[in-house]
């Protein structure tokens, strides 16, 4: 500060270049300040009103327009997605119903086949059983006949051996009577 030369000394500045009182109140400088302030303000006003503000206003308007459009488009897409979801749900329900139907049909078919097969099997079993019964009956008959024969012969031989005589009819009648008893 002390090195500053006394070149701007006036009513408001001392010989050392320091302020005398408040520089704010120095009337000598005020016209200068006011003049340059007004020049600057006019320049700023033209920069703002001619270039900056219309441009920024346009950008902001354009942006809000874009955002509005985008929101509308998004709303559209959302609706479409909801529609697609409904259609999908519908398709799923239909598919389920159809599947149930197919399952029921298949079950019925299988049941019918099963019934037929069972009947066939039953019939076959019955036939087989009847056949077997017949065979068993035959075997039993022949067995009884054989036994009767053997019994009659044995009885005749016994009577002969014991010294008696016996006619065939009496012996067979006796054997038959015994067999029944």
């Amino acid at each position: 500060m002390a090195t500053q030369t006394n070149t701007i000394a006036g009513a408001c500045v001392d010989a050392g270049g320091s302020a005398l009182g408040m520089p704010q109140l120095c009337a000598e400088w005020m016209p200068n300040q006011i003049f340059w302030l007004i020049v600057t303000l006019i320049a700023i006003f033209f920069v703002m009103s001619r270039i900056a503000l219309p441009r920024i206003g346009a950008v902001l308007a354009e942006r809000s327009g874009t955002i509005t459009n985008d929101i509308a488009a998004a709303e559209d897409f959302k609706n479409k997605a909801a529609e697609a979801e409904t259609a999908y749900e519908q398709a799923l329900t239909d598919a389920r119903a159809k599947a149930q139907e197919i399952i029921a049909k298949a079950k019925a078919e299988i049941q019918a086949d099963l019934d037929v097969a069972l009947q066939k099997a039953d019939a076959a079993i019955a036939a087989k059983a009847a056949e077997s019964e017949a065979a068993i009956g035959e075997i039993r008959d022949s067995a009884i006949k054989n036994i009767t024969e053997v019994a009659t012969d044995t009885a005749k031989e016994l009577v002969l051996a014991l010294g008696g005589t016996a006619d065939a009819t009496t012996i067979s009648a006796a054997v038959n009577a015994r067999m029944k008893g």
């Binding site: 320091s18 704010q24 942006r63």
Partner: protein, 253 residues
């Protein structure tokens, strides 16, 4: 220490000239400061203009839908002031938007650029702030009379107050109306000038080894405060202009 401050020349260490930063001097060469002289104030006014041009014109030259950083600063200020005018003065105040925006960006940029070390702060000069304050006041008052003629004076006549109180209220209202530009200009100039003086005083103490850590911490703290003050004063000035403009447009409460 105060004694040292009072007699700086004899001790040679501490020199306080906190007001020297406000001296207006020719930027080129020497001589008297005439009204047309290009001074340090002119240079800084030019820098303010260039900064405003850079932010608002160069920053937005891309006209991008997705803004660049500088463009979004401009858009932020645009939206802030636009909304302020719309909220306070209503839809019909919007056509004064460029004028209010000019005031706001000038004060804001002047306040912030003045915080650059070694810079000059135009908004600390009462001649500058008084021109802003009285200029706006006169313009708004003329606007009020042009819009409403003599019925603009109903602004001072409280029709819902008791009859015998109305003249008294009218006198008080007129006085408070006339004080508006004074308070506008002194509030802005005083705040900015005081902040810069305090910074300079702390800087003076920083030359003293014992006090310098505290002084430097003090400078940092005050600087932070001044950053707040720079923004707040621009905001306050602008919002008061909006309120006064509302009175001029709708004087019937």
């Amino acid at each position: 220490m105060t004694q040292v401050a009072i007699e700086p020349e004899t001790k040679g260490g501490l020199v306080f000239h906190p007001l020297d930063q406000f001296i207006v001097k020719p930027a080129f060469g020497d001589g008297a400061v005439n009204w047309y002289t290009v001074t340090n104030l002119t240079v800084w006014m030019g820098i303010i203009l260039l900064a405003i041009f850079a932010v608002f014109v160069l920053g937005s030259r891309g006209r991008a839908i997705i803004p660049s950083r500088v463009q979004s600063i401009g858009e932020l200020m645009y939206g802030f002031i636009y909304k302020m005018i719309e909220d306070i003065t209503g839809k019909d105040g919007v056509k004064y938007f460029p004028y209010i925006m000019t005031l706001f960006v000038f004060i804001l940029f002047a306040n912030f650029i003045a915080l650059i070390p070694m810079s000059y702060s135009p908004t600390s000069m009462i001649a500058v702030t008084a021109t802003l304050g009285f200029g706006s006041f006169v313009a708004i008052t003329i606007l009020g009379f042009v819009k409403h003629g003599a019925s603009f004076l109903k602004l001072f006549w409280m029709s819902d107050a008791p009859l015998f109180l109305r003249p008294i209220i009218a006198v008080i209202e007129v006085i408070s109306y006339l004080v508006r530009p004074v308070s506008l200009s002194i509030r802005l100039g005083g705040n900015i000038a005081a902040g810069h003086v305090v910074l300079k005083v702390f800087a003076g103490f920083a030359a003293l080894a014992v006090a310098s850590p505290a002084a430097i911490l003090g400078i940092i703290a005050i600087y932070g405060l001044e950053v707040l003050v720079a923004g707040i004063q621009a905001y306050v000035f602008t919002i008061l202009i909006c309120v006064y403009l509302k009175d001029a447009l709708h004087p019937h409460h």
